[in-house]
């Protein structure tokens, strides 16, 4: 215990000077501080380019050229559904939006992942248990179903960073959180005029 702590402190003293410089050592510290549990494996601690770019503590200057390049790369990687079939079944989409499980060490990996949209968004006006980290999406369907609108919404769900690098919203398609069918169902939940999201409460 003693030897271990000593090693870490020395590493720390030598390295935590600026945000970017410290990162190499932080990776080793993370590896020593966690153990894999069920589906939550250790490789989850490794960051991709977007995660690394979006990890700057508040107030740290960001490299704007790098961010623009990253956004363009993200846009190229978006997979649109075949034949412009964007919309699935809003009723199934409602389950996806309400389900907060999936990919936690405590979740059953044989069950489908949820989108947990309600954790951050208000959607159907009669659901009171909604979070506020994201904007309200109540009435989202009023924006219509033009090709541009469908493509925008799909892309937002597939990889939110295309439009807003370092958005707090998860990349549901790009990170494999939701399947293509689940994305279509959530799309319908947002855009179908019959969906509760687009119905006023009496």
């Amino acid at each position: 215990m003693k030897a271990l702590s000593k090693g870490i402190i020395i590493t720390l003293l030598a390295s935590v000077v600026t945000w970017t410089m410290a990162s190499d050592d932080v990776e080793a510290i993370l590896q020593n501080s966690f153990v894999a549990k069920n589906q939550a494996t250790m490789d989850r601690l490794e960051r991709d380019a977007v995660q690394a770019a979006c990890s700057a503590p508040r107030g740290m200057p960001l490299n704007n050229d790098m961010l623009t390049t990253l956004r363009q790369e993200r846009l190229k990687a978006v997979v649109l559904p075949a034949n412009s079939q964007y919309l699935g079944d809003w009723q199934r989409g409602s389950d996806v939006a309400g389900n907060g499980r999936g990919l936690q060490s405590s979740d059953d990996p044989s069950k489908p992942n949820g989108g947990n949209c309600y954790a951050c968004h208000k959607l159907a006006p009669d659901e009171v248990a909604y979070g506020t980290l994201g904007p309200s999406l109540t009435g989202y369907g009023a924006r219509g179903q033009s090709e541009a609108m469908l493509k925008y919404t799909w892309t937002k769900l597939w990889d939110t960073h295309v439009y807003n690098l370092c958005s707090h919203m998860p990349r549901f398609g790009a990170q494999g959180i939701l399947t293509e069918q689940q994305l279509k169902d959530v799309m319908a939940y947002l855009l179908d005029p019959a969906s509760p999201v687009n119905k006023a409460v009496e």
Binding site: M1, L12, L30, S33, A40, L45, P57, T132, Q175
Partner: protein, 266 residues
């Protein structure tokens, strides 16, 4: 005092047996009935007993344990944590300091002690949980003032800040995703802004806490482990650098606030 405790015990038993626990309404009902009474008072008593009870192969009490203010000094010790200890040459949180004392003073086995540091639902609390609760209560009302004089303590703060904003995992979450804005919530659960003095001191100052929904006292180490679970990361280890660093980050942000632990949570 004694009669008061009995009443709390009866209420706690009713609450658990009724299994109404996750319901917010019950929390309000509980507050109405109990006022400021917190079932953690029992755990506080238990922790105090454990401190003065000879234990381990050495059959010694923990009174020789130095929590930073000198051996055996417990009053006001917790608000100075996490802090640097010369004997281990490391910045430690209260949980890992206790483990250190239990192994070095009482001669207890490190592996056994740390195998299951936090109890599961339905368990009785662990020794560490009880001791941490008592020691936090020994600082109740004191001003949060973590040590930041040693270079290692300041480095720990910087590391904590870096990890607070470190995005990783399938959902790209960091602590900041949920805790860098004020007045936000997930579903109906309010999220403290841990980057602000007021948010950090309310949060840091109210843990360890009795969780009504679980019928257990929970430590800050457990709280972090559970947030990392929601973050979709692997499991945080008690006393690890990441745990100590995040606690340092929160405690320093909370400096000047008042320690009000043990808290009472949903």
């Amino acid at each position: 005092m004694k009669r008061h405790h009995l009443c709390v015990a009866q209420f706690a038993v009713w609450l658990c047996s009724a299994q109404l626990v996750a319901d917010e309404g019950v929390f309000d009902q509980y507050r109405d009935l109990m006022g400021d009474e917190n079932p953690a008072v029992f755990i506080v008593d238990e922790g105090e007993e454990l401190w003065f009870m000879p234990g381990g192969p050495e059959s010694t009490t923990l009174e020789a344990c130095d929590l930073g203010l000198g051996p055996g000094i417990t009053a006001g010790a917790y608000v100075r944590f996490p802090r640097y200890f010369a004997d281990t040459d490391a910045v430690m949180d209260l949980e890992s300091r206790l483990v250190y004392c239990m192994t070095t003073i009482q001669g207890r086995d490190l592996k056994t002690l740390t195998a299951k540091p936090y109890s599961q639902r339905g368990d009785f609390g662990t020794e560490i949980e009880a001791l941490v609760t008592w020691l936090a209560a020994e600082s109740e009302g004191a001003t949060i003032a973590p040590e930041q004089t040693h270079a290692a303590e300041r480095a720990m703060f910087n590391l904590g800040e870096e990890i607070f904003f470190y995005r990783a995992g399938p959902h790209d979450f960091s602590c900041a995703t949920c805790h860098e804005q004020s007045g936000m919530r997930i579903r109906l659960q309010a999220l403290p802004d841990l980057t602000s003095q007021s948010g950090a001191s309310e949060a840091w100052g109210s843990w360890p806490a009795y969780r009504i929904s679980q019928g257990l006292v929970r430590t800050m180490g457990w709280r972090l482990r559970d947030c990392f679970r929601q973050q979709r990361w692997p499991e945080l280890q008690m006393g690890s650098e990441v745990s100590v660093a995040l606690q340092t980050y929160m405690a320093v942000n909370a400096a000047g606030g008042t320690m009000a632990a043990p808290g009472l949570k949903r």
